[in-house]
Amino acid sequence: MSFKPIDAKSVFLQALEFTSTAERVTFVDRACAGNSQLRARVMLLLQNVEVPDSLLDQTGSQPDPTHVVAEGMPAVSLEFLKPCETPGSLGRLGSYTILEVIGRGGMGIVLRAMDSKLNRVVAIKVLATEYAGNPQARKRFLREAQAAAAVSHDHVVTIHAVDDDENVPFIVMECIVGQSLQQKIDATGALRLKEILRIGMQIAAGLAAAHQQGLVHRDIKPANILLENGIERVKITDFGLARATDDVGMTQSGQIAGTPQYMSPEQAMGQPVDPRSDLFSLGSVLYTLCTGRPAFRADSTIAVLRRVCDDTPRPIAEINPEVPDWLIAMINRLLSKQSQDRYQTAQEVFELFSQSLAHLAQPNLVPLPGSMNVTPSSSPGRKSASPRETNAGRSHWTLVGVGFFCAVIVVGIAVVQWLRPQARATSDETRVNGAARLTSEEQGEKRLVTEAAAPLPTRAPFDAVQARNHQEAWAKHLGVPVEWTNNIGMRFRLIPPGQFQMGSSAAELAALKEELQKAGTAEFDLFVSQSSGPRHRVALSQPFYIGQYEVTVTQYRQFLEETGYQSSASRAGAERFRWQQFVTEGDQQKQPICGVSWEDAESYCQWLNTRASKEPSRGLYSLPTEAQWEYACRAGTETLWVSGDDVEALSEFAIFGQTNTFGPAQVGLRRENSFGLFDMHGNVEEWCLDWHNHGYYARSPLTDPLFNDPPSEKGSGKVARGGAWNCKPWSLRSTTRNYDFPDKPTHARGFRVVCQVAQARR
């Protein structure tokens, strides 16, 4: 009997849809019934899916993304398994049929197996071979597992049995389908407040149950917190097992087993451990949930341990301003170096979280738990000198921005309650990707807070007349001009603080998707087009200046001549990519620079800043954030382009769709928008400060959002907006978020600059 290759392929692909080996084998058997050659071929193909290949896997893509392959797993020795007749199984252990390897925990291997007696799928944890030979480790392994089995709780993985098959000790547990907290964080970064509380509450509950049984987990970390599929119920796993290997690990090699990032100081120092150590680790996990990264990071184990014992982690507020003070205070207390300073029981922590969740749900009815009314000055890492921390400052802000806040609250997100004036690092300059952050921000805000005569921030939608009035009112109030030119001839317009709808509505996205698909648009562009949702109301709390035009060739040239800077393109040797190639005959003072990478643009802003010290009345230069760019581009409109929703009118404002021209047109040839800016739409596409993140809009802060954390997704890049002279209209939309690698210049991309406002008068 022979078979057609197409049939083998078809069965193979269908079999891949199943996630467990057993199910696949069953399917293949049925599909190839009667044709043993076909079956053999398919089975061979399937087996090769799992096998790593040094050559083919250099491409870096997983063979099959639907099948979970344990990450970073070195070859696992399964020789302890007995042979098994069941096809597709890896072997037998006691009365369990081993189906596949799920993963590798520090000291054990976790397998997925079928309990042949009870006919259910279970997870089996086996002590790794390097420890299995050590009688002490084995005894402890079993003893702790027995104790862990005594914990019966919703939020702890249930232990079914502990057994020993011819000297191979193993633990049988419930098999959780879902992802670990680590995987979730890797995928989405920091979590929302409600989720943080819910997860924290459940972990605390599980810990409380275990502590009651006299157990200390000792290895609480995101990888050991499983989230059950669907409801995302917390299941603490790897319980009590850390103790077995800890001692063994320490005595054998003097090194601490496993990753120490979530350890408590007493654990790190090898001191006796009690339930409060788990609470420290819980605090560490919560820190990670709030910020998307561990609290104590360093290059080596020793360095991490030192930080755990000595250092205060970077203040959460600096990384995620959305996190409320009371939660930060709680986390800080959990992270107290001395265990007597922490909460003393997991039960207490559980109750606090529980009440906070209730408060979040019904803020007017349920107060925050009393013990959490911590004043800001007592939390480490906050500068208490700043006026905004005092109640006076707060009420001034409230007075000024009442209408502002009402509009924002209408959105109905509870987290709005915690919106406060800029909670960013203040007195020291924090360097973000090379661009100095805005210290004059604080001064500007002080002014807004103390002057009762400040105009209201703008609220979109507004027309050209209103826009001009806003600009003039704020200029007068701040004592600065609406328009000014810096010492290299760059002209800026003042943009007042305000709020607007950022992003595209679901209807717009759907319509755009249909339009692009019909036009046969490439997947990347489809992906980009869908990044613009969901629409959400954003507030920009600070006024700023933005370049009236895109940066010109002459202006860029000056930078090169003064500094001898080598652009990304020339460093990479790409001859055609010199920006000079795109300069046409004529007035270079009017041609926008293009063929510059994000890094080039950044370097340009830094250069402006070194020169700016000669102009003390101005603040610092940088690229615009996405939010600043969109706000400036929209200039009070809520349509697809400033010209409206009809593409016909777009050419009044923008240069686009030019397929026969070699490069961009001169700046300022079309109509300015209501803020007095030219070529936001079209001409050259403009780099922004943010990294692109497809899901950012769903979770960004609503005030001054900026996504500047280095991306965890491969293939991400820096945002570029506004479309270019050779682009289709959809690229030019106010909401379109294109992106590209920061070191890559293209002939269609340039940039414009923003400058912070510093008060001219005292």
Binding site: V51, L55, A522, E523, N726
Partner: protein, 185 residues
């Protein structure tokens, strides 16, 4: 308008012979680019095929990108085939040197270290790929675009008009197929 753009347009208009002219142009450009990059890189640097291919695209098509958008697939197919040839040539040369075939130190200007540390296996892969192409052109094309041209599966899929999921499936199959073939089953 440059040569490559003209060719791509011609292909789009149905001129199949034009495709034959495309490959040598693309091949030339890639070899030149690779040599140039290596001349600038510090010793021991590796080059990523994907960067080379994209750069070649921009240099050859550049400002005409909008016009030949539909012809991109042809370009990248040619680029993939070119990269494949460059890598195979390189592997063969390496083997010759290793077996003492050449005594002078040859400037391996096109050496792209990424795949060339296993020249024998690469040659086997190449032969297996030729056989796969006879049996299943789609799967083979995915391999060329993904492995040789360094495009992501998503990009490769897009060029071939298939979804990301489908591209992944084709790659899984092709990968297993090639492994079976190389390991001699």
């Amino acid at each position: 308008m440059n040569d490559v753009t003209q060719i791509l347009k011609a292909i789009r208009q149905g001129n199949s012979q034009a495709a034959d002219n495309l490959l040598p142009l693309v091949y030339d450009e890639l070899r030149r680019l690779a040599a140039q990059k290596l001349a600038h890189e510090p010793a021991g640097q590796t080059l990523q095929p994907t960067a080379l291919v994209h750069e070649a695209y921009l240099r050859l098509v550049g400002g005409d990108a909008e016009q030949v958008w539909d012809g991109r697939g042809h370009f990248f197919a040619a680029a993939a085939e070119s990269m494949r040839r460059i890598l195979i040539e390189n592997a063969r040369r390496k083997l010759r040197i290793r077996h003492g075939g050449e005594f002078e130190r040859v400037e391996l200007a096109e050496e792209l270290v990424q795949a060339s540390d296993q020249p024998e296996r690469l040659l086997e892969l190449d032969a297996a790929l030729t056989r796969l192409a006879e049996e299943d052109a789609t799967a083979a094309e995915i391999v060329k675009l993904h492995f040789f041209a360094g495009l992501s599966l998503e990009e490769a899929g897009a060029l071939m008009g298939m979804s990301r999921a489908t591209a992944y499936r084709q790659w899984s199959y092709a990968r297993s197929w090639l492994k079976c073939a190389i390991e001699g089953d």
